[in-house]
Each structure stands twice: as structure tokens, then as C-alpha cells.
């Protein structure tokens, strides 16, 4: 008996090993193509630095290892970049948070009545077309050159996708489900919480992901153009570039890129976690493939149960 159990455990261990091996293989398959592109880009970078540029002009594009050495290994610069990143992240997340609260509330309002939607929609569009760089100095005069105006830049830039995606989602709920709720006396609030908001979640996450990227850009660009205050990544970029410190400049650009990618992926991950199980655009398809087999099996067992009228015999009236 114990040998049987042991054998079972062994085979379980083998299965686990096989699974983790296949997971590694999958990871390699997934990571290999972008990694290859990365290597090609680094190669081109070196080629431009050493083959295209004259030694006297090499400061225009220092080689990658110098960027790493002066940008990331140098303690002072590294600390500067780290502090800048934290400040910009603070601004971006604050901006995104405020944009989400305002955007979500606006979209909910707009979904409640056609006339509200018609009244607000044009202004949402106008907001999106605001030439943000042009009004940065103005914002500085109005709100000072501190955190407040930086956050406002982020909000302006990140608001539109949240409003539009949330609104689309709220209005996308199935008409017949609306009918069903009507038949059972659901009011606005029930309709909103039980039907419209859940139905809007996939779109809300799409909006959030887009706006998160924009908020990062907003934080950096705003900082860059305010040109004063405690330096975030944008101000560092401006300083490095005016002092022709190209190694540090490129390092700062890389940090900014990395930050943007991290934020974008984080919201992608969050979206998949929350709605990925049932929404196709967030990855539900692959799950369906897996579970379809089970479902078919279920139907088969059903048939083998012989008799379609059978369930009644087993159950009782509700």
C-alpha cells in the first residue's frame, strides 16, 4: 500500500518537474524574440558609436557600457536618478488616481442620462486637445511650481481615456440583461452596481492601462517644462541635456522608459487578474480552450446519463 502511495507521489513529483520544465520552455519562447531585438539594438548602438561617429564626436552617443558606468554605477548619479524616479512616480500615481476618480465619476454621470452625456462629451474632447506644453507655464503661475501643478498636468493628460473607456463599458451592458433587471424592479443604483460597472470592468482597465502610460509621460514632461522645483526625472533630463552629460542623459531616458513599461505591465497584469477569467480581450480565450474540453466532457457524461427528461426525476421543484 505504502509503495503504491510512494509511486503515486513519485509520479506526481515527475509531473511537477515536467510542468516546471515546460514552463521554463514557455518563458524562453516568450522572452527570446524581444531579447533578440534588444541585442540587435545594442549592436547597432555600438556600431554607431564606434564606426559611424568620429572619436571627437563620440560624446553624442556614448557606448552602452559608459551609460551603465556613469549613469548607474556612479553613486551620486544613481541616487539622483532614484530620487527623481520616486518623485516622478509619486506625481504620476497621484495624477492617475485623481484622473481615475474624476473620470470614473464623470463617466457614471454621463451614463445616467443622454443629456448629461451630450453636455459633457464635447468638453472631454476639448480637454484632450489642450496643448499641454503650451499651458504648462500658465499652470505654474496659477498653482505654483510644486507638486500641485505637476499632478494637474498628469490629470489633464490621463483623464480622457478613462472617461471614454469607462463610458463605453457602462453603456455596453447587454440590453436583455437590462430588461431582466427592469422586470425585477431594479433601480438605477442596482443597475449600476450589479450590471453596468461589472460589465464595464474590461474597458475600465483598458482605459487605466492607457492612462497609466500617459500619466508617466505627463509627470516627466510636466517636470521637464516646469524647469524648477524639486527635480523628478523630467527635470534631471533637462539638466543633463543642458550640461551635455550624455551618459547620464541616456541613463535617465532608460529609467523613464523602464518606469513607463513597468507601469503599463503592472496595469496589464492587474487587468488580467481581475477580468481575464471572463473577458476575451483580457485573455479569457486561452482559458476557454482549456475548459472547453471539460465542458464537452460534461456534456458527454450528460448524454450517457441516458434520458433527457432524467433531471426532473432527480431534482425537486424549486
Amino acid at each position: 500500500m505504502s509503495t503504491v502511495r510512494e509511486a503515486a507521489r513519485m509520479s506526481g513529483a515527475l509531473r511537477d518537474a515536467a510542468r516546471s520544465r515546460s514552463q521554463v520552455a514557455r518563458l524562453i519562447r516568450l522572452a527570446a524574440p524581444p531579447l533578440l531585438v534588444f541585442l540587435v539594438v545594442i549592436g547597432i548602438w555600438y556600431a554607431v558609436t564606434y564606426l559611424v561617429l568620429q572619436p571627437s564626436r563620440r560624446f553624442l552617443l556614448p557606448p552602452p557600457h559608459d551609460v551603465v558606468r556613469y549613469g548607474f554605477m556612479e553613486p551620486t548619479t544613481r541616487a539622483e536618478l532614484w530620487r527623481g524616479l520616486l518623485r516622478s512616480a509619486h506625481v504620476a500615481f497621484l495624477g492617475l488616481g485623481v484622473a481615475f476618480v474624476i473620470g470614473f465619476a464623470t463617466a457614471v454621470l454621463m451614463s445616467q442620462a443622454k443629456w448629461i452625456e451630450r453636455s459633457l462629451y464635447p468638453w472631454a474632447v476639448v480637454l484632450q486637445t489642450v496643448p499641454i506644453l503650451a499651458i504648462v507655464p500658465l499652470l505654474g503661475f496659477w498653482f505654483g511650481f510644486g507638486l500641485m501643478s505637476r499632478v494637474i498636468v498628469c490629470v489633464i493628460i490621463a483623464l480622457f481615456p478613462i472617461i471614454i473607456n469607462t463610458l463605453t463599458g457602462l453603456l455596453s451592458a447587454d440590453r436583455r440583461l437590462h430588461d431582466l433587471l427592469t422586470l425585477h424592479g431594479a433601480g438605477r443604483w442596482t443597475r449600476l452596481t450589479k450590471l453596468q460597472i461589472p460589465a464595464a470592468l474590461p474597458d475600465i482597465f483598458t482605459g487605466l492601462r492607457t492612462s497609466a502610460g500617459l500619466a508617466v509621460i505627463g509627470a516627466i514632461v510636466g517636470d521637464f517644462f516646469f524647469g524648477r522645483g524639486r527635480p523628478g526625472l523630467g527635470l534631471l533630463l533637462a539638466q543633463y541635456s543642458s550640461r551635455l552629460k550624455s551618459e547620464e542623459l541616456l541613463a535617465a531616458v532608460l529609467v523613464a522608459c523602464g518606469f513607463g513599461v513597468a507601469v503599463f505591465s503592472a496595469f496589464g497584469w492587474l487587468g488580467r487578474r481581475v477580468v481575464g477569467a471572463w473577458d476575451e480581450s483580457w485573455g479569457a480565450t486561452s482559458r476557454i480552450e482549456v475548459q472547453d474540453e471539460e465542458a464537452t466532457q460534461g456534456v458527454q457524461t450528460d448524454t450517457s446519463r441516458e434520458g433527457v427528461g432524467e433531471p426532473t426525476g432527480r431534482g425537486e421543484a424549486p
Binding site: D179, G185, W278, D279, A284, D292, A295, G298, V299
Partner: protein, 245 residues
């Protein structure tokens, strides 16, 4: 004359949407335990008839008297909420009616057993096949134990085999605890198999032009479909339908 026993009766009901006349002078009564099928060409106003019966729409003229508030409405598609598990979908209507959590969970499990989905109570609808989704939808409408069932071509999108099986399951449910049903369909065979009365509706504006009593006793075995008497009746319904289409 309005029948006192009728669960729902339409008297001379006309319904228009703007310039379009969807239904014209429809009179119809359904008594408890009566299964009425309505068949007609597409766009003849069959769905409008159901919306009127459910009070999602109101007649332009004529009157509708309904003697129960407990109605079940089954749509063409399963229309489940993809973010809710099968059980939570089935619980939905009870939740809207404010039924206590424990009670609605009990009832949901009972109806899920009834439609043979008890093993799938905790999965999301995406994991179900088309037929199973439709059963979950049926279970949802069964939960509040309706006295009047409105079916809007519920099995129209399913393959023949699944459709026959669901017909039989519905037959079993109906036999066990008869309700009044108004069943809209495109399929003559389905109409004759399920109903005690088949009404034929004309093209727009929809009008009830023919009625056939279906004499076969319940419960009806699936094999009934292949009997000569069934074929004869189905043939008569089909030719009546061909005249108005």
C-alpha cells in the same frame, strides 16, 4: 370574453412603433398549465408580443390582463453575466427580489440540479457549451418559480441534437410542475412537440391567423416526433405558415 382562469389575456391588442405597426388586433388567452407556441415569419412581431406580456412594452390600444407577477423570461441567447459564476447567475433574480442569501443559495442549487448543472455551479459561463449556457439561463428563470413563462426562441441558436435534448428537458419540467407558457419559435416541429396549442402569426403587422390544438398527452416522449400523427399535424401547421410568410 375574458376567461377568468386565464393567467394572461390579450384583448384586441395593437402595438405600433412610430409609423410601424408591429401587431394588430391580437386576442389570446393562456390558462394555467397551458403551453402555447407562437410561430410566424421573422419580423412578424412575435418578440413584441412577449415584451407586451412582460410589460416591458405597453399596448398602443386594446388591453392585456395578467393575473400573476411571477413571470419567467427566457431570451434567444443565454444572456448570462460572464463575470458571475453559474450559481451566482442563477441567484440573480432572487437577489434583485431581496431573497435572503441562504435561501437563494438553496434554491439555486435545487434548480441547478434540476437542469443537470450542479457540477458546474462554481464555474464561469465561459467554460460552458452553448447548450449548458442555455440550461443555466433556464435555471435562472426557474428560480422564482414562475407561473407564466415567456420564451423568445430560446433554443434557436443550438444544434439539432442539443435542441432536441433541451426540448425534452423543458417537457420534463413542464410535466412535473405545469406553468402557463408562451413560447415563440421558428420551428414547426418544436412548436408541435412542446405545446398544447400552436398559433400561427402573419407577417407584419403581426396578426394571429390560425390556431391548432395539439392533442398528444403529456409527458411526450421524444419518439413522438417520428409518429405519423405528429407529422400530419406538423404538416398542417407548416402549410398554414407557408400561406402567411
Amino acid at each position: 370574453m375574458v376567461d377568468d382562469d386565464a393567467v394572461i389575456s390579450f384583448r384586441d391588442v395593437t402595438k405600433g412603433f412610430g409609423a410601424i405597426r408591429a401587431l394588430t388586433s391580437v386576442s389570446l388567452e393562456i390558462r394555467a398549465g397551458e403551453f402555447v407556441a407562437i410561430i410566424g415569419p421573422s419580423g412578424c412581431g412575435k418578440s413584441t408580443l412577449l415584451r407586451l406580456a412582460s410589460r416591458l412594452e405597453h399596448p398602443s390600444s386594446g388591453s392585456i390582463v395578467r393575473r400573476t407577477e411571477r413571470i419567467g423570461y427566457v431570451f434567444q441567447e443565454p444572456t448570462l453575466m460572464p463575470w458571475r459564476t453559474v450559481r451566482r447567475n442563477v441567484e440573480l433574480l432572487a437577489e434583485l427580489e431581496g431573497v435572503d442569501r441562504r435561501l437563494r443559495r438553496e434554491r439555486a442549487d435545487a434548480v441547478l440540479r434540476l437542469v443537470g448543472l450542479d457540477e458546474f455551479a462554481d464555474v464561469l459561463p465561459a467554460a460552458l457549451s452553448g447548450g449548458m449556457k442555455m440550461r443555466a439561463s433556464l435555471a435562472r428563470s426557474l428560480l422564482l418559480d414562475p407561473e407564466l413563462f415567456l420564451f423568445d426562441e430560446p433554443f434557436g441558436a443550438l444544434d439539432q441534437i442539443t435542441r432536441h435534448r433541451l426540448n425534452a428537458e423543458l417537457m420534463a419540467l413542464f410535466t412535473q410542475r405545469p406553468f402557463a407558457a408562451l413560447f415563440v419559435t421558428h420551428s414547426v416541429e418544436e412548436a408541435v412537440y412542446l405545446s398544447s396549442r400552436v398559433l400561427v402569426m402573419s407577417a407584419r403587422p403581426g396578426r394571429l391567423v390560425d390556431a391548432f390544438e395539439v392533442p398528444f398527452p403529456y409527458p411526450r416522449p421524444n419518439a413522438l416526433r417520428y409518429e405519423p400523427a405528429f407529422a400530419t399535424l406538423a404538416g398542417r401547421v407548416a402549410s398554414s405558415l407557408a400561406e402567411v410568410a
